[in-house]
Symmetry: C2
Subunit: 331 residues, 2 copies
Amino acid sequence: MQTYTAIHLVNRPKSSIGPELFEVKKLERPTLQEGEILVKQSHMSLDPAMLGWMSPDTESYIPPVELNTVMRSSGYGEVIESKHEKFVEGDRVTGMFGWQELYAGKPQGIHKVDPSLPADMVLSVLALPGLTATQGFFFVGQPKSGETLVVSGAAGSVGSIVGQLGKAEGMRVIGVVGSDEKAQWVTETLGFDGAINYKTDDIGAKLDALASDGIDMYFENTGGEIQHRVFERMNAHGRIVVCGMIADYTKAEPGPGPNWMNIIKKRLRIEGFTMPDHFHRTGEILEKLTPYVQAGKVQYRAHTIEGLEAAMDGLNLLFTGKNKGKLIVKL
Amino acid sequence: MQTYTAIHLVNRPKSSIGPELFEVKKLERPTLQEGEILVKQSHMSLDPAMLGWMSPDTESYIPPVELNTVMRSSGYGEVIESKHEKFVEGDRVTGMFGWQELYAGKPQGIHKVDPSLPADMVLSVLALPGLTATQGFFFVGQPKSGETLVVSGAAGSVGSIVGQLGKAEGMRVIGVVGSDEKAQWVTETLGFDGAINYKTDDIGAKLDALASDGIDMYFENTGGEIQHRVFERMNAHGRIVVCGMIADYTKAEPGPGPNWMNIIKKRLRIEGFTMPDHFHRTGEILEKLTPYVQAGKVQYRAHTIEGLEAAMDGLNLLFTGKNKGKLIVKL
């Protein structure tokens, strides 16, 4: 491969997300400096956080992608050349490789992975989604066996892992999803105790039926009406882990939150977190997660689209909820 | 004293709070059983939490006062008769004595206090307000020297102590109050770095001027517009201690809260608490607070009204913000 394809961000998103924001480049294969590695990326992860990375908001937790540079993303690939003592040709690695076929640079933040694990399993469970789910569920949420957990975006990459960790920890788990197919998947395949289709169900009535003793922990991935209906039903000393608000990411005027009186009456804790604050604890978090994966308690499904350039339109699947499982681009 | 006066709650509050909710009773002086004490109450505390105690809401953190029983309150008094081995005539005590001149019963939850301390100082600092301020500020808020603290209800019994603890801990402290006189008191007497009169100031503009580096900790006593303006200006990893929402207690339709997106972007923690959850730690909390009091770092002012029956109208001062300092009824 003497040339390779890379996709640069050239416009900030306004009303839509699509090819108009990007430019496809043909570039020369890079020459390595001492201490660098060259990775051929085979699988790339698309995540809701990307909308934030593309936006010019300097207040966010991670600097936006600069215009006319490669779009940021995490991925999986193989080392095809190494001038770094700890990496050899053939190593399988994950890291923030961006929207490009080849990545060249120092291996900062790049981790070797067991080559026997399928790439989509690595990106779906042992990378960003699994780290996020584990950090939020255990370290922010402080779950207790016997409690009731509600998770929104429950068929999504993070939510599906959170709910399965909840089941593994002895909780009653209710997932909120956007289709009957997803409801069936989380209850029948993942073993959740119940599911709510927020598009067709009466959310409050269904919560009353499925969580008749109230809700102890809410893992928030979406925002929207479900947030209000769950908030009204929180038990004393409940915890709300705020991980995502995907329903609001593309809204010009995000809706209001619930009145705070319930925070006092029920002594609630509402806490936001983002994984980049905790990347330095990746080892510790994976140690917590891996035994559940090894015990077969964390299933996943990947929604794979083909070809680097498919990423430009594919991103929209996340915001329309049309992906079924972890969204992955196969290069 | 062969008879004494007691005030019973006979109606639940609807649109107003006043004598129509209460009935004044003349009762016979009680005869003590073994293990009981008789307290002559001299000072009684009126607190915002009382509205909750009068309301029929069974979801609150403490059961409502039953109709046709004495109204609940904390107070200060003198033991005038004792059939309990640990109490003698002349002991000064605090406890939940209720709206009555005499209290008879087992001394559960009743504590002796140093008789050299003035009653209004005990009720203003070393009782509910000081415990609440200390618990919320230190144990929920996790303050750090150099940070910026905003406290609403800053001239109130809890807020004024929170702000002074903030100053003692090396924070920049901005108090939100409801009059210029209170603004002057918190800055000139208590040493806050700035004050905002929410009734007349442009809250956002004033916050920008007084907290130009953003806000690290917000101690919420009131709700209302200030909540939104502070929330927008929270720094990363900020903490919001939700202690009271007095602006909403008497509203039929409490206003919405802020959208939660900022909770993720800034990784905020919002946590509610009420003192009754922590009464078992009263000793530990007083150990934390007392050195500040002894060092002269916690000043207070009491707003005293005269006569038990004045409590019925006096309670309104809290909801109109017309009290200047801790509201106390002198019997």
